[in-house]
Amino acid sequence: MNRAAQILVPLAVGALALLAWEFSVRAFDVSPIVLPAPSGIWEAFTAHFAQLMGALWTTLRISVIAFVLAVVGGVALAVLFSQSRIVETALYPYAVILQVTPVVAIAPIVTIWIGYDRIDLVLLVLAVIVAFFPILANTTLGLRSADHNLIDLFRLYGASRWQVLWKLQLPTALPYLLGAMKVSGGLALIGVVVAEFAAGSGTATGLAWTITLATRELHIATAFAALALLSLLGIAIFFALTWLEWALLHRWHESAVRREV
């Protein structure tokens, strides 16, 4: 299958589905409170454009900052773990506890601690908690996966710990980290959305709160428009990270090899 077909075929399926959706809603006279037609969603989108873009920006901004913090923090902690077994033994269980506790359950407490007047910070903290663990776990594994013979060779040539880390362990961990980033990028967005549902909205109105408000007022078409924006945001994050992975790995890593069969 060539490249054009790979893009056109799914697009055609999407277009057909939208047409079928539009046709069915009209044919069976479905109430817009139950299921709005695509055209209705588009009208809601244009009518509430400024509000939706503001919400999109809020969700995007918090997701990206949370993701960056999760990556920086996760890698930093993984490096610390790789340098000291005792630190790893001491802290890893708590990282796991943070990971397995549902964010929805922590949200009200975090909201009280930080305050309703700084909801965007609440969302940020909760999203970081959600996105953090895959980075930590995979990078820790990656840092420990360096070829033992190469470690011996570095020792033979008198390499410092820093050189082993910088020139051997971190490059070894890079594919693991990039894989984790694709998971965490999505999780950061999910974290912001779930946190917003759980913590509500004071100072910040993201897409999740827009959906909550719209459904309360039975503006289902607006809710769908916000939902569509959330999906597009998730897809954009995924593609951006897939591109990053390609850019950093395609020259040397097995995952990027195109094989002819």
Partner: protein, 244 residues
């Protein structure tokens, strides 16, 4: 004397007695092959020489001071994210040699192993034999006095193996190396070495120490001479005696 092993033994933490006691002296300029059955501790002996494994008892001494050591593993063990040149200059960049000089020396060694034009290739773009050549260039770029090789050609096809045997002899001559070469191949040791040290099954001890009258030449026709066959027979006989 470059290297002196005295009453060397190695017992691993799990209680396996891998080696020795072994006494072995290697003189400057020798090409010594360590031959023995699988698991006889010959790789362990090599790692002890390199200082990568500490002996349980006995000593490793370098009477003239510890020389620069190059090590080649059974697998090429290249860094996949680095080009052939970057791999070859590993030791130099770790030691803080200036970039231009490291670069030039890596290029020179890649040329010496026949890889001119492949400096910017990544390991995945190279064949098994070429990767092993990069690995040898990496070991030589640090300008070692002592080159240790741990069954480096075991995974290669016979043709490539023969070519690399000849290359190794050439490099040994041109760069005034002292080589300790671990192999389980009788013919390889007979072809390459000035001296073959035959080891017994685990825990490996030296059962025979055979020096050859003539220094090895990079000349494949030697493989069909009576002298070569006689040498190989002597090594085989020593191996069988050691295994009994």
């Amino acid at each position: 004397m470059l290297l002196q092993l005295s009453h060397l033994t190695k017992t691993f933490a799990n209680g396996v007695s891998a080696l020795g006691p072994v006494d072995l002296a290697v003189a400057r300029g020798e090409f010594v092959s360590l031959v023995g059955p699988s698991g006889c501790g010959k790789s362990t002996a090599l790692r002890v020489m390199a200082g990568l494994v500490s002996p349980s008892a006995g000593t490793v001494e370098f009477p003239g001071g510890r020389p620069e050591i190059g090590f080649v593993f059974q697998e090429p063990t290249l860094m996949p994210w680095a080009t052939a040149r970057e791999n070859a200059q590993l030791a130099l960049s770790l030691k803080g040699v200036a970039r231009d000089e490291a670069n030039a020396r890596a290029r020179a060694q890649l040329a010496a192993v026949g890889l001119s034009g492949f400096e910017d290739a990544y390991p995945r773009e190279l064949s098994g034999g070429m990767k092993m050549r990069v690995s040898i260039a990496r070991a030589l770029a640090a300008q070692p006095k002592l080159l240790l090789l741990d069954e480096p050609f075991a995974a290669l096809d016979e043709q490539t193996r023969g070519e690399l045997n000849d290359d190794l002899i050439r490099l040994w001559r041109e760069q005034n190396l002292t080589v300790v070469f671990v192999t389980h191949s009788v013919s390889e040791s007979a072809y390459l070495s000035t001296r073959v040290v035959v080891m017994s099954q685990r825990p490996g001890r030296i059962v025979d120490d055979i020096s050859f009258a003539r220094a090895p030449q990079a000349d494949a026709s030697r493989r069909f001479t009576a002298e070569f066959t006689d040498n190989a027979k002597r090594i085989s006989a020593a191996l069988r005696g050691g295994a009994a």
